[in-house]
Symmetry: D2
Amino acid sequence: MSPREEAVQTMSNSPKQTLVDIQSSHDERNIAIDKVGVRNVKYPMYVRERDNGPQHTHGVFTLTVDLPREYKGTHMSRFLEVLGDHNHDLSVETIPHVLAKLREKLHADTAHLEVRFTLFREKAAPVTGKVGMMGYECGFSATGGTTNCFELLLTVPVTTLCPCSKEISSFGAHNQRGYVSVRVKPNGETLWLEDVIDMIEACGSAQLYPVLKRPDEKFVTEQAYENPRFVEDMVREVALAFDKDDRVKAYEIEVENHESIHDHNAYAFLKREKE
Amino acid sequence: MSPREEAVQTMSNSPKQTLVDIQSSHDERNIAIDKVGVRNVKYPMYVRERDNGPQHTHGVFTLTVDLPREYKGTHMSRFLEVLGDHNHDLSVETIPHVLAKLREKLHADTAHLEVRFTLFREKAAPVTGKVGMMGYECGFSATGGTTNCFELLLTVPVTTLCPCSKEISSFGAHNQRGYVSVRVKPNGETLWLEDVIDMIEACGSAQLYPVLKRPDEKFVTEQAYENPRFVEDMVREVALAFDKDDRVKAYEIEVENHESIHDHNAYAFLKREKE
Amino acid sequence: MSPREEAVQTMSNSPKQTLVDIQSSHDERNIAIDKVGVRNVKYPMYVRERDNGPQHTHGVFTLTVDLPREYKGTHMSRFLEVLGDHNHDLSVETIPHVLAKLREKLHADTAHLEVRFTLFREKAAPVTGKVGMMGYECGFSATGGTTNCFELLLTVPVTTLCPCSKEISSFGAHNQRGYVSVRVKPNGETLWLEDVIDMIEACGSAQLYPVLKRPDEKFVTEQAYENPRFVEDMVREVALAFDKDDRVKAYEIEVENHESIHDHNAYAFLKREKE
Amino acid sequence: MSPREEAVQTMSNSPKQTLVDIQSSHDERNIAIDKVGVRNVKYPMYVRERDNGPQHTHGVFTLTVDLPREYKGTHMSRFLEVLGDHNHDLSVETIPHVLAKLREKLHADTAHLEVRFTLFREKAAPVTGKVGMMGYECGFSATGGTTNCFELLLTVPVTTLCPCSKEISSFGAHNQRGYVSVRVKPNGETLWLEDVIDMIEACGSAQLYPVLKRPDEKFVTEQAYENPRFVEDMVREVALAFDKDDRVKAYEIEVENHESIHDHNAYAFLKREKE
């Protein structure tokens, strides 16, 4: 029997009845940690829809709490236990309860939740009315405790047609898929993900659709040509829409056009706190 | 009025009542296309579970058909229409109907469907029995028409502990998350995604779990140390499991260990047709 | 002193002078492995350019060999050693030497190398001649030993403008960035990555450029409008170009248009072995 | 001749000698934009090394400027022209010149540059001294104009071994690859990317290496077992190292362990402004 095998056997025989809670031991380094927890947690969830009951989807979660300077570590398994108890209905109204439970179970002052998920909506073609489902990348970012914060996260794809290309060219104009990514802080009143999607889609040269028959394709092609938009126009139009809506308190807007004439993207960014 | 504006106005005024079906026009290049269709289509779907009713999830689809040499193009919108009609229950039994409908609507000899989705299963910790959900990346790849084929696709994460590191070290052994990716061709009889997951998870140094309390963590740590596995061991163990199961007709196995001691991965690949 | 601490101390004191080569031990499972090695290895490299000396870049490598049924494992560190010795000039001519060295050092019948890297080329705007650098995602896939194979891998972005949208619309036409991905098997004679890029770029509605001033943008906009291309047209045009070139022996072509009017992509695929 | 064809012909014949600069036209929306420019620009570049001359690599750039409320758009091609002139030597010392040039050419008050690239370093195994190259994901984030800022960005992989798993288990301990991502604001004095890498690698349970022979693997396995680290330990140890170094003025540290026993990651985050 090799020394290692012997040693292992010795260890296997010695029952360790008490499993030390090493996380709760005292830490001497005197450094509080802003956020500690779990990330990239895939979990089934329900998100409340504006026009229907809760929609079943799944999210990718980051769940964290602060860790005071005196503790060596947090208890990671408890985040999963809280998530398992609270994924039944995630929305502006219910997330504060999840945060409260995280603070309680982890003995923390502040808790954070960020989740990304795909929200599906039925979408009808603009002329024929043919219906299909379109998936939107959405999310919530929330903090509860010594500070409180709630944000809606969305990335909405649109068509953008270049005003310069249209103006200088004898015919045609380059256009492409653009992605509008926003963080929106609501002002207390209910602001649905669907409301924000509607506001953003109204700002593009044209909207995207799952199903387009020929009369629809003619419609969106001509509509885009008649509504050219730079990335600069996109951030400004979305900003105007958010400025007009009292339910929006603060926002960040990021637009990225996957230029059809370049291998790089056109980009614009705008951040505002309304008062 | 600029020449372009004038021209555009002229065009706008001329009603185009008939929208030419340019896709159906004759193509002179004399080149048949193997696969043409749509890719990266996100769509809600239901997948049949072994132990419960259908599970709601969403998939990322590629849908294609062959295109004979004489046609200029296919009709992309029809793929979305067929998908919208058939996403209610996707499984070994129902996918042939989707393929038949694609062939019919696209006037094609052969149709292909590939879909990737996350399947969630409840999973209990090995000692305390604490339960959480674990999401598995799954998929189906199917061909119907002049050739027929059906494959289950899965990527299952496991713990792998290095036999060499254990053997040569006085204590400890490096271990890491490994990913086992398989394509499995069933032999007619029903083979569930869950069956394949179970087979693969039994081959690792230890399984992964959503929730592990201290007694569970002690268990999986010691279990892994007692069951060291190279990537070579992993492909062979999974191959043995597939060889023993008569429902498996052919398979590909790919294992990638995200080595904890390197910034690169250890990798093994095996492909077999049973007879 | 806890039992574990005692055990660990015992183990630390026992010198393990001979480090067993566990990989070379006999394997009883009787399963040969097709490919075993390392993946996702980032390494600096030089790739030979058609029009200049070797270009410095870095690659992401997969290096594998076959493993006979009687061995438990391969020796992963040797792959890195061979790579370190041979990354100075990777091309059609030199890769066979790397494969030979891998077979020798790993006592294997067959070795495989796959590498992906970015190749930069100077590219001038079509009217003003303004110059910038454009990076192309390239690669080599090679097998040497009992079977021999060599393929060039490329993904080349182009502009594609929809023929249907142009035909049915009174003005404008949707267009977007499309990605043409190919695997090309040369027929012995030298076929440069740059040759393949040139062939593919000539097939799009227009090419992409790093720098476009206004006269250039007018040019590419109008050029695209005058050269509409479906994904079906793209695979056929590239196939025609490959068919005409005797240096090409076999090929796979995959085109994916990031449709500006949909959130999904149009897709076509073609695979041919010549004569 | 169809109306569209006629129209197109009309347009083609009318020479557009003056190409309107639509970007410079007046914008009525009264919204200044924080950042506008180009993103995902791949470009070859040289980065200054601490121990050698400049290293050739390539970067992925975001280049932006502010846009005053009165202008409709910026001039995207100029970003590429400035980049083409200044990619020869990017470092703490030279980036301010790039930013100055961007402000000048775009008539902007403030310019931003963010670039991500792979930096390769030779790294020797800890016992045998066998040498290989290891690539580190690095970057710079810089702002110049009405505000000034400069940050080093790095993601350094390390081995982390779980203190809890070690303590409660009779033998073994789960370990994994962890990723330490930092943003570091230097205090004027030169702080090399290599300095930050060295500080971070010293904080792990063990370092990662490109080449490890058996005596090296024994060494790193035992070293990791003797130096267990939670994500909480990692952020604190790196914070201590940054606190001790006067060249560091402010920092953010993010650690993510790809847990070998879970399919999710352990995560910790810390942000500090010194004094």
